[in-house]
């Protein structure tokens, strides 16, 4: 968690202790939920039932300072007690060690709002499950300095990983950039339930094992304007160490990708923003034909159609009966849709509480100046330097108890008035 954010949010719930963090640009969120069974004793809310459960956040470094030396911890500590003392404003972490030695740390904490990312794995069109080792080995092939990688479902059920290179408008690709592409056969995975032709691009930094410092991205990604990039000993290392299979849920580009690890006593989620990119291929052919379909030979038009059909008929592997997400503005080919789209954006913003400091969530269709499907409707002119932007995840005071769930607002967004997908 420390690889992602500077603050650790602790939230005791009925279903366990949740430790969460978010990165400063709000594009990565992770949570570890430890079920009560994980602990010898778990008492949320104190001895009196019905008392409000306290949430707090502590500075990550302080908390880590308690557990500074992992190898010696394993050898010397036999019990760890964590207490929240609201009256003294202290989070007490007490380690009972060998020889009767007791180490007590009284950490200052701040009360805070719930930190909850808006995502729903049930709604994701595609999911993959593999032992963490497979992914760790795959990721090793990509250069340490790589920021973004594209995961795609290719022909024959193969899964591809390719480093993302931003195409300069009009150029075939930056000369001299090495592109690495890796294909994994379906049988490397435990389960594969992907939409053919689907692909998403996400930031590798928060995910992989890499001690290198990634230089500030020249892609202009709002992920790393001036903050030192976080380099991971990320989820992948943890997954490998714990020997748990890693499940990847994803949907359309722009919608977050969710990595989960599940165990009897532990549930881990890592939610990363993905690049919402007209290049990703799931761009409906538009009236003005400015759709810029990528060169890979997958037959996107057909795939797209089948995807749309799939969405319409809700033939998800995971959930069923879930209505197609109307938030996805790419589904509106008609120029007239610009307004509802704008409304969608705004509604999302208002309802979910646009967090200050998030990168401007311009429409998906900007960036390259190709306002596809909106026929040049008046929109705030896109910043040409902020081309394909990561759609940030919206965090707010979503009062969903403990479990990740879609914000109710997702369903309210204006749908295409023609009902045509």
């Amino acid at each position: 968690l420390s690889r992602i954010g500077d603050e650790l949010y602790l939230e005791p719930t009925e279903s366990g202790l949740s430790l969460r963090t978010v990165n400063s640009s709000r594009s990565a969120f992770a949570s570890f939920l430890f079920a009560p069974l994980f602990f010898q004793l778990y008492e949320a809310g104190g001895p009196q039932p019905g008392r409000e459960l306290l949430r707090c956040k502590v500075v990550m470094k302080s908390f880590l300072g308690v557990f500074r030396s992992l190898p010696s911890l394993e050898k010397t500590v036999w019990k760890c007690l964590i207490l929240l003392k609201p009256r003294a404003s202290r989070l007490v972490v007490q380690l009972h060690c060998k020889y009767g030695v007791t180490k007590t740390h009284n950490l200052a904490f701040q009360e805070c709002e719930q930190l909850q990312a808006v995502f729903d794995t049930q709604r994701c069109a595609s999911s993959l499950c593999a032992p963490a080792r497979v992914l760790a080995e795959a990721v090793v092939h990509f250069p340490q300095t790589l920021a973004e990688v594209t995961l795609g479902a290719g022909p024959g059920g193969k899964i591809s990983l390719r480093n993302y290179v931003e195409d300069e408008a009009g150029e075939p690709g930056r000369a001299g950039t090495m592109v690495t592409e890796l294909w994994l056969a379906e049988d490397e995975f435990q389960t594969v339930a992907v939409t053919p032709g689907s692909r998403i691009t996400f930031c590798l930094k928060e995910f992989r094992v890499s001690p290198a410092r990634v230089p500030s991205s020249s892609l202009g990604s709002p992920l790393s304007p001036s903050q030192p990039p976080r380099c991971p000993q990320g989820l992948l290392t943890f997954a490998e160490a714990s020997n748990l299979p890693l499940t990847i849920h994803y949907d359309m580009p722009g919608r977050p990708v969710v990595f989960t690890l599940d165990d009897a006593v532990l549930e881990v989620h890592l939610v990363l923003a993905t690049l919402s990119d007209p290049e990703s291929g799931l761009q409906p052919p538009t009236a003005n034909g400015a759709a810029h379909l990528p060169t890979p030979s997958d037959d996107f038009a057909d795939d797209l159609e089948s995807y749309m059909i799939a969405m319409e008929t809700s033939a998800y592997e995971e959930g069923s009966g879930v209505p197609p997400s109307p938030t996805f503005p790419l589904h509106t080919p008609c120029p007239a849709e610009s307004d509802p789209e704008e409304e969608e954006e705004e509604e999302e913003e208002e309802e979910e509480g646009a967090v200050p400091g998030t990168p401007p969530h311009k429409k998906v269709l900007d960036g390259h100046g190709r306002c596809l499907g909106v026929g040049g409707q008046a929109q705030p002119p896109p910043d040409p330097h902020l081309s394909p932007q990561f759609r940030s995840l919206f965090f707010g005071s979503v009062l969903t108890p403990g479990t990740p769930g879609p914000a109710p607002t997702q369903e309210v967004l204006a749908e295409d008035s023609d009902g045509e997908y």
């Binding site: 470094k61 908390f63 020889y99 030695v101 007791t102 007590t104």
Partner: protein
């Protein structure tokens, strides 16, 4: 193989002449007190004492008794000089610090007296190095007047239990607070840093406790930056004795066993911190 005695150039005897088969026996102890550049050496027929002080608040002494040396001769009652400890340690370790089994640096140390440099002859594998280090007027040393009759509380612990604790001390705290008491918490080390406070408690019946003689509950604070160098001595030692007197002065005595199984001592004396601020417990 000890070097044969080098005849003095002018025929005058050395006031201090010593030979040591393994210079590491000396250099490692000196490192344990090396937190300032200069040290005062005090040699008598019993051995050498090297003293380092800082801020008029802390004093560290390394004792290398005569028995450790293969040859040790002091012509006068006592020989005292001030010397650059960094340079001395660098010379003693001139052949490198990695301790390969079987190889050791032999040392012969000679001092002609007031005004003369300290001569070091170091040999390893047939290669000889000669070092001359200038000596200076010895400084007035602090006298903590810490004798066993004035000790209020005394604990002897196995170093193993404290090593990690000292290494992990929260350095954002300005002070290290030591509480010694016949009642709970018996022996407690506390820091008050940016993250909050941390307390390390050692119960009196812990396996680590070799001796526990606490008569009075005392809580004293010491500047952590002054005590931090004692971690080096702690790392080398097998046992440590922690004593405080009525004024809150702290005495830390480390028992160090060298490669040949010989025992040496290093001690640290520290004044309590005068600024007593509200304790945050």
């Amino acid at each position: 193989m000890p070097l044969s005695a080098q005849p003095p150039a002018s025929g005058e005897p050395y006031v201090l002449a010593a030979s040591l088969d393994n210079a590491r026996h000396l250099s490692s102890l000196l490192r344990a007190v090396h937190f300032r550049d200069h040290a005062t050496c005090f040699a008598t027929a019993n051995g050498i004492r090297v003293t380092v002080e800082d801020a008029k608040c802390i004093q560290a002494n390394a004792f290398i008794q005569a028995e450790i040396f293969q040859e040790f001769a002091v012509q006068e009652e006592s020989v005292t000089f001030r010397i650059n400890l960094s340079v001395l340690i660098d010379c003693l370790t001139i052949f490198g610090t990695s301790s390969l089994p079987g190889t050791s640096t032999a040392l012969r140390m000679c001092y002609r007296g007031y005004g003369y440099p300290l001569m070091l002859f170091l040999e390893e594998g047939g290669v000889v190095t000669v070092c001359k280090i200038n000596t200076q007027e010895p400084d007035e040393l602090l006298d903590f007047d810490f004798c066993s009759t004035k000790v209020v509380n005394k604990i002897i612990l196995q170093s193993e239990g404290l090593r990690e604790a000292f290494a992990e001390l929260d350095m954002t705290s300005e002070v290290l607070q030591i509480t010694m008491s016949p009642d709970k918490p018996y022996f407690r080390l506390s820091t008050f840093g940016n993250a909050g406070s941390a307390h390390l408690d050692y119960p009196r019946d812990s396996d680590l406790m070799e001796a526990f003689h606490c008569n009075q509950t005392q809580t004293n604070r010491y500047k952590i930056s002054l005590l931090k160098p004692s971690t080096k001595a702690l790392a080398l030692s097998c046992k440590v004795s922690i004593r405080t007197d009525a004024q809150g002065f702290l005495s830390l005595q480390y028992m160090i066993r060298n490669e040949d199984g010989q025992i040496c001592f290093v001690e640290y004396y520290c004044c309590p911190d005068e600024d007593i601020t509200e304790a945050e417990l």
